[in-house]
């Protein structure tokens, strides 16, 4: 067999939706793709995951909203978003111009808020919904649903009753047992699970003698947290049968492959976009190079290889 030029099958199926490759963007780091489309051919991505959108516009937190940390960063944007109406009118038509799957990240303060967005998206050309129950930077909603298995299962069940598209539940790492949380949302009917959201952290600005971000705490992301994310993906993969989307500090193909071999069916690239706008493409190319090198014809054969 010609090992250099055999056809690679990089496709992956998530709850009946076939992605051309397993590489997508992490919610909140990529807007709805427009700003990064100057650097990235969005047609080459498996999917674009949008920034979280709520039923009404959210102003987010005061500035400063970010700080750099060693090998990573901390953010407390607070889910600023323009609300679902403007999003449907502006962001979805933009993304429809590209041959990529559209995953809309949904946030809310109450279950009713989430359901309003989910129902509004029912007739929109959206491929999957990602339900954010894991944002550490808002007081209500968000992580309130994501740290207790019963609440997580309940909101998943409610969303599933109303959602027309398959549902991804996005988990927080700020829990005692990620396996318990994964089982809970699977029991609630989640079609896919994505993890991890950011880890709650704090940075003190010793020059200003106050918190580095105005929200006091923020979500830590970037390469520094990757080993934690890989471990959590592995534990979730042991606990549930639904496909997983792994993320947390992925910068290149090799990083992505750690998640894939640990059990992720797809990966998201987040913080890396900030220092390398074409990071998503490099991750996709890195995975292909690895497949050639290891004579792996089908991407799906790599998923969970370590166990």
């Amino acid at each position: 067999m010609n090992t250099r030029n055999f056809d690679l099958d990089t496709t992956v199926n998530l709850a009946g939706v076939e992605l051309k490759n397993p590489v997508m963007t992490a919610s909140g780091t990529f807007g709805s793709g427009e700003e990064y489309s100057e650097f990235v051919d969005l047609n080459r991505l498996g999917a674009v995951v949008t920034k979280g959108v709520a039923n009404v516009p959210w102003p987010g937190n005061p500035a400063p909203r970010i700080a750099e940390t060693y090998g990573g960063m901390m953010n407390a944007i607070g889910l600023q978003n323009p609300g679902i109406e403007v999003f449907c009118r502006r962001d979805i038509p933009f993304l429809k111009k590209f041959d990529t799957k559209i995953i809309v990240n949904v946030c809310g303060k109450t279950i009713e808020d989430y359901l309003e967005v989910v129902e509004r998206l029912a007739e929109e050309p959206v491929d999957l919904l990602e339900i954010n129950i894991s944002c550490p930077n808002v007081k209500e909603g968000g992580i309130a649903f994501g740290q207790d298995p019963k609440s997580a299962e309940h909101i998943t069940r409610e969303v599933k009753k109303h959602a027309k598209q398959p549902v991804i539940m996005k988990l927080s790492p700020n829990v005692t047992s990620i396996a318990e949380m994964a089982k809970a949302v699977e029991a609630g009917g989640a079609d896919v699970i994505s993890l991890i959201n950011t880890l709650t952290g704090m940075k003190i600005d010793i020059h200003r003698q106050t918190f580095a971000v105005a929200n006091k705490t923020g979500g830590v992301s970037g390469p520094a947290i990757r080993p934690i994310a890989v471990r959590m993906v592995y534990e979730a993969a042991q606990a549930v049968k639904v496909p997983l989307i792994g993320m947390g500090g992925i910068t290149c193909g090799e990083d992505a492959l750690e998640f894939i071999l640990a059990g992720a069916s797809a990966v998201s690239v987040g913080t890396a976009n900030f220092y390398n706008p074409s990071a998503t493409i490099e991750v996709a190319e890195g995975i292909e190079a690895y497949m050639r090198q290891h004579k792996t014809e089908h991407f799906r054969d790599l998923i969970g290889l370590v166990y």
């Binding site: 700003e35 100057e38 102003p59 090998g71 323009p82 390469p223």
Partner: protein, 260 residues
């Protein structure tokens, strides 16, 4: 329409021009040819523990030589800016740009204008001074040590304010304007928030068109992450809330568009 590029720029020269202030010329492929006054670039360190780009304003743009000049402050030991200060001719630095909107030249052309710079907001006023065809009064505020003053003197009437009184008017830029009895029809300003607040108030009380270049902690630099917001009195079209993006909608705003 796309005009932003990520490039490996070659360092042409590097010199320290004041305490903690460095001036570096870099040669780009296309960015210098696209840039306008008031825009900035993202500069990346080689150090993988520092993952965010550093937004640095453009001090001079030499289109013919395809070169950019950045004048920046080293913010401390072990910082990204300290790493930039160690770059030497022949080294390369990754940059993304040109970013942001820049100063509009048209409103000030042919008018009596103030170009007001304070601290590390001084450098971007130099390229604006070079390109703007107007009656230029350059009002520059420093804490103590001055820099770029010779270059400014070639491009307009220079008025200096220093906090320690070592040169010009003792005090801030507004003190220098008052002490010299200056007035203007259009204002361009870049500097720390307290300075911009004073300039904005002065401009609005005197009904003067005023452009302010804002600063905020940034991550992506291209308008995607919503880190570097500034408050706006009106609901903004993009955000649908009272926030504009400094990196993409700015950094230059009409003073009346933003809360400082």
């Amino acid at each position: 329409m796309s005009c932003k590029r990520k490039e490996k720029a070659a360092v042409v020269s590097q010199e320290q021009i004041a305490r903690d202030i460095y001036s570096m010329w870099i040669r780009t492929e296309e960015i210098a040819g696209l840039a306008v006054p008031g825009q900035f670039i993202s500069m990346y360190t080689e150090d993988r523990s520092k993952i965010l780009p550093r937004p640095i304003s453009l001090c001079e743009i030499d289109r013919e030589r395809k070169q950019l000049r950045v004048v920046y402050r080293v913010t401390g030991k072990g910082t990204g800016t300290e790493q930039f200060s160690r770059l030497r001719p022949g080294d390369f630095v990754e940059i993304l740009g040109p970013l942001g909107n820049g100063f509009p030249l048209e409103p000030g052309t042919g008018k009596k204008v103030f170009l007001i710079g304070g601290g590390i907001g001084v450098p971007p006023m130099l390229e604006l001074a070079k390109q703007l065809d107007a009656g230029k009064q350059l009002v520059m505020g420093y804490r103590d040590e001055q820099f770029l003053t010779e270059e400014f003197q070639k491009n307009g009437s220079l008025f200096i304010a220093t906090e320690d009184g070592s040169a010009g008017t003792t005090g801030n830029v507004m003190d220098a304007i008052a002490a010299n009895g200056l007035d203007a029809e259009v204002i361009y300003a870049c500097g720390p928030a307290p300075m911009l607040r004073a300039v904005k108030q002065y401009a609005e009380e005197n009904h003067i068109v005023c452009y302010v270049s804002m600063e905020e902690r940034m991550a992506c630099g291209v308008g995607a992450c919503l880190a570097c917001i500034c408050r706006t009195p009106e609901i903004d079209e993009h955000s649908q809330v009272h926030n504009k993006r400094v990196c993409k909608d700015g950094p230059v705003f009409l003073s009346t568009e933003v809360e400082v």
